[in-house]
Subunit: 410 residues, 2 copies
């Protein structure tokens, strides 16, 4: 049942509908059951489990990310929505329609339909809770993890409030962009009256790898990105750097993770005029191979002490790879899951695009400390600006019968 395509579920409407035109009756029963597969079918990432999918899951090619604000003041309405969202998300990850009973001519369809017939595309749907959710509206103030507070100002950022923050976030990743758009559109629809979209971002190409089975991709600066990223196969490092453990003051978050999103604009025209040698010095890597300037292959470990014949550092003092390296950040590492984005051009005719940075971590302090260091001296700062984003606490995975709000609202 789980491998059935969306097409076969929806197609029935037409055939059965013929006889019903003009009479307004039922046109087709949605035959989709909800039995869990015994083994994952192709392109289906299991939705339920100890951890949320979409974190260490092998990174999919396309993203739609959304931040929502809660507009109801009613706690049970919010919980009910999380229950509804969970069922919808689970169904969509199986390549099935949003559940909603039999289709009726005299009612809006339960699913908006644009993903009907498309493959599941390894869809994952991941939820996070923003600091603002833990005010006095829903009785959650005592449930706020001490580490979940708005990020401090991290110069030289210039965050647009229209692309920043949110009570909730949803990350939809799949190998088909229509599948990810379909998720956000349907969750927004199901949430009407309870939540409202605060901002949304389409990511057209992955710029990181979360599995050693994946080749490294290039960001819009033309450089391989995330070569030193954590990989799912590094189980010990993942436990150490990604999953919230017993140290948290909020048991509901144990087994979860913090998500930091940053909408990073690249000043593409400026970058494109820069010399190859300068570009390579900015990153500390070769543009072609991705190798560190002290190496020959992408995965060679950078030799940060190496000096050239004139005595200068081969990897410059302000190179991105040096400043971001765990070696220079007390071993701090992040699990990155970013995507390239573009929203057309700005009013001056320059391309508006860059990196929609997403990273998962055990504590927001990991991002804050590294970004503070980068903000102070990264050579890349001449070519980029952080213009939006948010911090969210992602709860652990949901077990059978549970919903996204289970651990938080229990």
């Amino acid at each position: 049942m789980s491998s059935v395509s969306r097409r076969s579920l929806l197609t029935g409407i037409g055939a059965l509908g013929v006889g019903a035109v003009g009479v307004g009756g039922l046109v087709a029963a949605d035959a989709a059951g909800s039995a869990a597969p015994t083994a994952p079918a192709p392109q289906i990432v299991p939705f339920r489990g100890q951890r949320q999918a979409g974190i260490v899951t092998q990174q999919q090619d396309r993203l739609t990310f959304a931040a929502f604000d809660v507009v109801t003041r009613n706690r049970s309405e919010l919980v009910e929505l999380l229950r509804t969202w969970t069922a919808a998300a689970e169904s969509m990850t199986r390549g099935q329609q949003v559940p909603g009973g039999a289709s009726q001519l005299q009612a809006p369809p339960a699913d908006t339909g644009e993903a009907a017939g498309l493959k599941p595309g390894n869809l994952t749907v991941t939820i996070g809770f923003g600091p603002s959710l833990f005010d006095d509206r829903f009785g959650l103030a005592a449930k706020r993890p001490a580490l979940l507070r708005p990020l401090p100002k991290l110069p030289p950022e210039d965050l647009d409030p229209h692309y920043t923050g949110g009570d909730l976030c949803v990350q939809a990743c799949a190998d088909d962009p229509q599948v990810t758009f379909h998720v956000i559109r349907n969750l927004a629809r199901l949430g009407a009256g309870t939540v409202v979209l605060r901002w949304m971002q389409l990511g057209f190409g992955r710029t990181a790898s979360t599995s050693s089975a994946q080749a490294t991709q290039r960001n819009l600066m033309g450089f391989k990105d995330g070569t030193r990223n954590l990989r799912a196969e590094q189980a010990e490092l993942i436990d150490q750097h990604v999953w919230v453990g017993a140290e948290t003051d909020q048991p509901w978050l144990r087994g979860g993770s913090y998500l930091v999103a940053r909408r990073i604009r690249m000043f593409i025209e400026t970058w494109d005029r820069d010399y190859l040698g300068d570009q390579q010095n900015v990153f500390g890597r070769y543009k072609g191979s991705g190798a560190p300037l002290t190496g020959v292959s992408e995965f060679d470990t950078p030799d940060f002490a190496a000096r050239d014949a004139e005595g200068g550092l081969v990897i410059p003092e302000d190179a991105h790879v040096r400043l971001a390296a765990p070696e220079h950040n007390n071993g701090t590492r992040l699990l990155r899951r970013g995507y390239s984005f573009t929203d057309g051009i700005d009013p001056t005719g320059n391309l508006l695009g860059g990196l929609f940075f997403i990273a998962f971590m055990r504590s927001p302090e990991q991002f804050i400390s590294v970004q503070r260091k980068l903000g102070e001296s990264d050579a890349l700062n001449e070519y980029i600006q952080h213009i939006g984003g948010g911090l969210f606490a992602c709860p652990p995975g949901v077990g059978a019968g549970q919903h996204w709000g289970q651990s938080l609202f229990a």
Copy 2:
């Protein structure tokens, strides 16, 4: 040579660059020859030919579309840019870098690099000339086809000037969005000082089929789109409706086509609240199967005269499929090549997205007459609005040694 991946060309930089760090010399010769393949390699659509690629080419999954304004007043600068663009576009369709000689540390790279290592993805790059190009700046006034004038106002449109018009347009289509973005970004870069981006649109999913080998896709209203579209296999109809012939007053355009682009917003939230029965009546088709309301299968011919037991038309008077049908438009047909798009949300929190409509035709009158009819009475008007677009004359294909401006500037 043509099937070599971008990766292998760029990778050399890293390895050879090691010895060159700090000396500023050549780091790698770009070994990419330009010999044309004898037979098309996988994922490579031939760039040169009698017609431009990207029109009857089997529609690719992803789009980046850009309109440019020319900012130079110098005719030969413009011609030179078209020559440069042609070489760059041809190279990229082969999965190769933008040509530019050997890479040097002390110069900007000839190619921005983000498509290095990606497959060609059936990339096509198609150029068009807007009415505004034929003013007195470049001595082209006498070369303007009589049919190439700004589209008349077509109510209920509400075109945003920031997403409308342009002296030139470039349509980049491929199965990988990073490949299409790479094209527009590099053409904009090569054009700095000669042209400036006027607007740009990413299309994330195709909504039409231009080959009978392709399954029909769904638009963001959840309906199959373009079921009655022209297909490349219908050679006679394509000749009749798509290619400019001997009738044109401008010989340079013979064998070309007119491109109409329309940025069509869908009022998604309103649509999603509409009943299934109403949605089906708006289109005149079943949402599931795509069959006309008088049929059972997608490709059944609509019976526009059929009436139900109460004597009402089964396909309503104002249904989209009826008003757009060749049967009710003196046989007029278009070759559609549209894509779904989203640019996030609007200031009220509603989704900003819809259909980026592209169609090719022998005369703009084909679009004007059909759209005028739709604008007057299409039931769909309650749920959509045309908010941008343009009209462009696409020249015929380029032969060996020719460039995009060849026929126009000869």
